[in-house]
């Protein structure tokens, strides 16, 4: 037996295992175009929505302004679980829809390429996979929140919109939405683990949950007063992070995001441990 191949088997500690798995995921995230494409999409959409408002159409009419204040493209003035126009819905929460698609592609490629076999051969603990994917994808979504913000500012400047806001509440709203990325990323990771053999269904299910349709439906039935209950869900808390946010909003988002992340990671780990990888 050569010296470099002694039969010593030291179990790596939890943080060592997570570090190596995170290392792979971040390396892949930064070295493939997917991440950068989605950052651009996240910047482009608000810039397009805000920048094209008030522009002259080919028929000579002027398109209606969706927002007069640029920060409404980031968050609504108040938590609106049920909305009356698209402007109240289309804000930074859309990042979680694109994010869902990105996570599906990111995780789907693990299975499509067969790389997941390398991961599971060397990582016996399935929780490593769930935790690593959740953190990496949460980071990607948080970055998308930032480019979304930059796109909004660029679009707002182009369209000459109002920039007035309560700076403290605005920062808390943005920070809260970024914190929610963890919960969303964990949900998408879990969905992609469930539908790992079906790439299309993974994307469709992530998209469905990302739109928040189930919560919106409840909001439509019970009205915005049902808000405090709906805040226990990911979409509810994401909506709760509005331009009227305060420190309570931040805490609620932190608790809800962390709690769902823990639940989805636990469920995903259980599922992976009890079922075949492919």
């Amino acid at each position: 037996m050569v010296a470099g191949n002694e039969l010593k088997f030291e179990s790596p500690r939890f943080f060592t295992r997570i570090k190596s798995m995170l290392g792979v995921d971040f390396y892949r995230l930064f070295h493939t175009p997917l991440f950068y494409i989605f950052l651009l999409i996240a910047a482009f959409i608000p810039a397009l929505i805000l920048g094209s408002g008030g522009m002259e159409n080919p028929d000579g009419t002027t398109s209606a302004l969706l927002y007069t204040n640029v920060w409404n493209a980031v968050a609504a003035n108040m938590p609106l679980y049920a909305f009356s126009n698209i402007g109240e819905y289309a804000n930074m929460n859309m990042v979680f829809i694109f994010g869902g698609i990105m996570v599906s592609i990111f995780i789907g490629h693990d299975y499509k390429s067969g790389y997941v076999k390398q991961l599971f051969t060397t990582h016996a603990k399935k929780q490593d996979y769930m935790i690593s994917k959740s953190i990496t994808c949460a980071f990607a979504m948080a970055c998308m929140c930032i480019t979304y913000l930059l796109g909004s500012v660029a679009g707002g400047l182009f369209a000459g919109l109002d920039f007035s806001a309560n700076v403290g509440s605005l920062i808390i709203a943005i920070a809260s939405k970024m914190i929610m990325s963890l919960g969303w990323a964990s949900l998408y990771t879990f969905l992609n683990v469930i539908f790992r053999r079906y790439f299309g269904i993974s994307i469709a299910s992530s998209f469905l949950f990302g739109t928040g349709l189930p919560i919106i439906a409840i909001g439509m039935i019970f009205g915005n007063e049902a808000g405090s209950v709906l805040n226990i869900f990911l979409y509810g808390s994401s909506v709760y992070a509005c331009l009227g946010s305060n420190i309570v909003t931040l805490i609620v988002c932190l608790v809800v995001s962390a709690a769902w992340a823990a639940i989805y990671n636990m469920l995903g780990t259980k599922l992976l441990s009890k079922s075949d990888v492919y």
Binding site: S11, S20, R28, T32, S113, F120, A124, D276
Partner: protein
């Protein structure tokens, strides 16, 4: 201590048994040739060892520890079905990712080392999808070799390769086992190729291990025989049967088993008016042994 010790391992897919109480023992340092027909359970066994599938029952021990032990699994390298690389990433990037996955300290050095072993130092910048099948197989071996694995699990590593690719792969496998001292399990249909390198064999049929033996045992069990060609094969066969117990006809030759002395065969035939045009000494190879074993099992 054995590198792999499997006891009563079972796995079914939709009620159909793929493995039925399989037992398997692979000694440390062995090159274990895992043989069986398509669907016999070779790949399933390998996937179970690597933790890709969940067993229905039984136990798998790797180097005396449960196969779910993180310390052992981090020292397992595998090439099962395909290399498991991202097609749009370069060879280098794929290997680097695996080096990070294994938490190796000297990643670039390690990556260069394994690329050298598989003779692909000059191809590291190529995208994986642009590589030929032979190159992909070698990249798969390189991935499995990162981090000095104690156990290598290879599923059909020489399948689909051309003659040159096969030769390179064989040389690589011999190099790995001789110079890097790890235990290797190779599932393959190419018995002739396997025979050149394996130290142990496991023969699986319908999800059950029907025989495990070392290369020496295999050698001991292999019958020697003389192959003979004459003008009148049928007449010669009758004459040979009068003196030798085990005479048969195969592949256009007469075979006299368990007879080392070709002189006495030629002499006996000549004495009875048969001129021998061709005679050679042979040994039943792995392929023939395997076929005979399978036929015997089918007969049962």
């Amino acid at each position: 201590m054995n590198a792999i010790e499997i006891r009563d391992l079972s796995k079914s897919f939709r009620g159909m048994y793929a493995l039925d109480h399989l037992n398997m023992t692979v000694p440390v340092g062995a090159i274990y040739g895992f043989i069986g027909e398509n669907g016999s359970g070779k790949s399933t066994t390998e996937k179970l060892i690597c933790g890709h599938l969940v067993p229905d029952g039984g136990s798998i021990k790797l180097f005396g520890k449960d196969y779910t032990d993180s310390g052992v699994r981090v020292r397992v390298g595998a090439l099962i079905e395909n290399a498991g690389c991202f097609p749009n990433s370069s060879v280098w990037m794929n290997l680097m990712m695996q080096a990070i996955n294994l938490n190796l300290e000297n990643r670039e050095e390690e990556t260069r080392r394994v690329l050298k072993i598989v003779r692909m130092e000059d191809s590291s910048k190529i995208k994986f999808k642009s590589c030929s099948l032979g190159m992909k197989q070698r990249i798969g071996i390189a991935m499995a070799l990162l981090g000095s694995p104690a156990l290598l699990i290879l599923d059909e590593p020489i399948n689909g390769l051309d003659a040159d690719g096969m030769r390179i792969m064989r040389e690589i496998l011999v190099d790995i086992t001789k110079n890097y001292g790890c235990t290797v399990v190779i599932a393959s249909h190419l018995l002739g190729e396997l025979e050149k390198i394996a130290t142990h064999y496991g023969i699986i049929r319908q999800g059950k291990m029907i025989q495990e033996l070392s290369a020496e045992e295999m050698d001991g069990r292999s019958q020697v025989f003389a192959s003979i060609k004459t003008k009148d094969m049928q007449g010669a066969k009758i004459i040979l049967k009068t003196k030798f117990d085990n005479v048969s006809e195969a592949e256009g030759y007469l075979r006299v088993y368990d007879e080392d002395d070709t002189g006495s065969i030629v002499g006996h035939l000549l004495k009875n008016g048969h001129v021998v045009s061709e005679i050679s000494k042979n040994k039943v190879g792995l392929e023939e042994y395997y076929i005979e074993l399978m036929q015997a099992k089918e007969g049962n």
